[in-house]
Amino acid sequence: MIFFDRASNLLSDLPAIVVTVPLLAALIASGAGWINRKAPFIIAIASLFVSFISSILLLLQVTSTGVVIEYRMAGWAAPIGIVYIIDHLTALVLVLISSVSLINLIASKRRIDDQFRNKEGAFYSLYVLFTAGLIGMTTTGDAFNLYVLLEIASLSGYALIGLGSNRAPLATLNYLFLGTIGATFYLLGVGYLYIATGSLNMADIASIIPKMMNSSMILFAFIICLTGLLVKLAIFPVHGWLPGAYSESATVAASLVAPLTTKVTIYIMIRLCLSVFTPQYTFQHLETTDVMVWLSVITIVFGAISALSQKDYKKMLSYIIIAEVGYMVGGFFLGNKMGISGAILHIVNDAAMTLALFMVAGIFLWKTGEDSRESLKGMFGKMPFTMAGFTLAGLSVVGVPPTCGFFSKWYLILGGISAGQYGFVAALIFSSLVNAVLFFRIFEIAHFEPFKEQHPHNDHCDEQHQAKSHNEIIKEAPLDMLIPFIAVSLLLVLLGLYSGAIVNNIIHFVIPKGII
């Protein structure tokens, strides 16, 4: 009996466990590195695994009961205390964050140990801290607590990104400046909200705002909060920090930061618009749709065209991410059911796609020691499984069914049509076509051009392989990199085929009443 009591206690504490375990683990990991070099990895992976399992349990709990979980930190009641709120959307994003972080850690271990020798403690600690920050941002129901966690995630993010190539510190500085401006804007907005409503609790603010729809202070708070988040989202024209930050950083760090940062920020934006400022305020009172959708259209077109002109693979991915941000922001601000569903579904899909694309960059870098597209010559013959996964990921970005990218685009386009935003529809189609060009350009190199004779081999590649002829030998990445990658790329198809279930069982409950 006692055991069951404990177990049920543990279950009810899940919202705290999901964030505090990685937070504490981050602190322990950095110290443990001094004692044992293997310890930080074990601590990191164990804590992320706990987070992952807790998120899954939370998702199951929310979807099965349909009741929003409200957890009072240390027992203090809202609006004075900090509450953590887990609804369908939160649980979905939690699973997303913890699984991306866990999978990427497994796949990157070999490279982290190689690249950050003697700095493992610091790296793993930052890695877990970053994840903890994002998880906290997702779960918190307090607008100021959100800022604190946002800074935890951002600061650890800057540090992770700074650990890259020679130009990484400069790119990080750039990121840090803009990121801090964004965060400060958000904080300023929260300040105005507090002045206007006297509360920092999101639900509390949401209950007050309908009474002060015409308040200029609320309007200012909305604009300035949103602006801050848009900077963090890298929407055009405040996107400048993103390409440098993601392409100059170490691939192991980029493959954690790139899939999650923008996606979680979009989640925050959605949360802010729906759960703080209320949908009536955002969509009906302010009529934000036109402005925001057009901003997104420009972002999409700009991202697509810039991606076309990139020679570097990771730079190209960065601009694709910018375009994808446009998909989600635009989709959400269409303000109808289809558009919001598409935006939320795309948060999941895009995170999975971006993860796959950065993981594959890591595999190529490991195998060839080079980062350029040219190093992919002859890869279809050389690494057929990796390339198959890469092809799936590429097709998903293009939006070819049955990969998941198609299905979120489906909702987004339908949302665009029913909102009468044909510019948005055209931008989505245009960007799909551009993505097709981008990826087939790479597939062409890998398919048509013979394997390059003089690859600068890392010392991890055995010599026996160099002795053999170069062409028809299959030489895949080590299994601990390959298996997580293949799993993610198969997930891209499964997410597509089961997108109906995700929409029906999860996203459906997120759409506020009154939105059609």
Partner: protein
Amino acid sequence: MSMETVVSLKPVVAVLVSLAVIPGIISSRTQNIRETWTLVAAGIKLLIIISMLPVILDGKVVSFTLFQVFPDIGISFRVDAFGMLFALVASSLWLVTSVYSIGYMRSLDEHSQTRYFSFFAAAISATIGVAFSANLLTLYIFYEILSLATFPLVTHHQDKEARSSGRKYLTYILGGSIGFALPAMLITYHFTGTLDFAPHGVMAGHINSGLALMLSMMFLFGFAKVGIMPMHSWLPAAMVAPTPVSALLHAVAVVKVGAFSVVRVFTGIVGTSVLADFNISAIVCVIASFTIIVASLIALSQDELKRRLAFSTIGQLSYIVLGVALLSKSGMTGGMLHIAMHAFGKITLFFCAGAIFCATGVKYISQMKGIGRRMPITMTAFFVGSLSVVGFPPCGGFISKWYLVLGTIESGSLALLFVLLGSSFLNAAYFFPVFYNAFFCSKDQMLFEDKVEEAPLWCVVPLVITASISVLLFFYPQPFLKLASLAVSIIMGG
């Protein structure tokens, strides 16, 4: 009109069986084991499809939903008469082509044969998927899979020419489907709320005339595999592929998937009444006629045999589109029948082109003087195949063209009758010189030495089979005729 529906896993198995053997193909230790996998899958697929034939001829449909990807649309299969007709053609010809592929690829000692057979299997899965689609979304998904699965086949040689052709192939096919067909599908869904194929279409009453015309055009050009001008030029470019690929995919599977998709969408989504009321059919007739005549004229000037066949295909595909746009019972029957009749004729011609290349290495018609004396079986089959494509009795092609001609008379358009007759004349004009030169030439014009002989048996037997079937179809056009008239009676009523 409600039809009895049989829920069965058979269509799913028929689609997936060739995908399921791919791991077997990849992991096979010897060539023979690998080819056994291909042949076994082809055999099973054909048998499953044939086993559904009696049910379909009985007027029932077989259906199954695989994934419910959207609240109201699933990845669903529904086998009806028209889908059955196409699946029967594609799967029976796959079996024959598999045999031919083995002979061709081995005798030329081509590289990467495992990749070749794997993607071949994937392509045929997608083709049957298109045939059995219950709604436009499912059709689109398999259409895209087919585009991608055929890319490595078209670019098999991996040289410069293959690269530029591959680029062209994808630009037209993928560009068309993403740029036109996808938005058209979404707009249709937005206004009608459904994508299921209905006997009389779903647009009537939901969509005004301007939009209906725009959507019809987007579908017609978006499904670029049908090769309507100006979306045709990927087809001649794709002839860089090994000949069995050209044969199955670019005379049967890929191009017919395009034609099938257009017919399906025009009848099942747009609907014949919308086509007629808004005068869309007249515009489609003009576009198709233009393609028929111009493609035939271009074919006249091609010296490379496969390119001449490619332009001939472009023209013949538009017959199918024209047949539907005639909106008469005979015309539509003729159009649907043409999918089958042209397939058997054209695949024979491609097999012959490949056999000639295998045996002699010659690609150009001007270098084929006297080849008939050295390869009499192949060139006789070529003769039969071209008779069928031109539409002479006693070949299957005559039947479909007969119905098409009847269709033009039924719908009372004399101009279209002349288009058909004129095109047949042109068809004869571009095929006649090929076999005339092959058989009738003086000793000193003869370009081949005595030692040149027929291609290997693996290549010759398939082309004899398809040529014989072409003749046989004239005397026994069943079950294709039955299926086509069943499909037409559902669409046109009565």
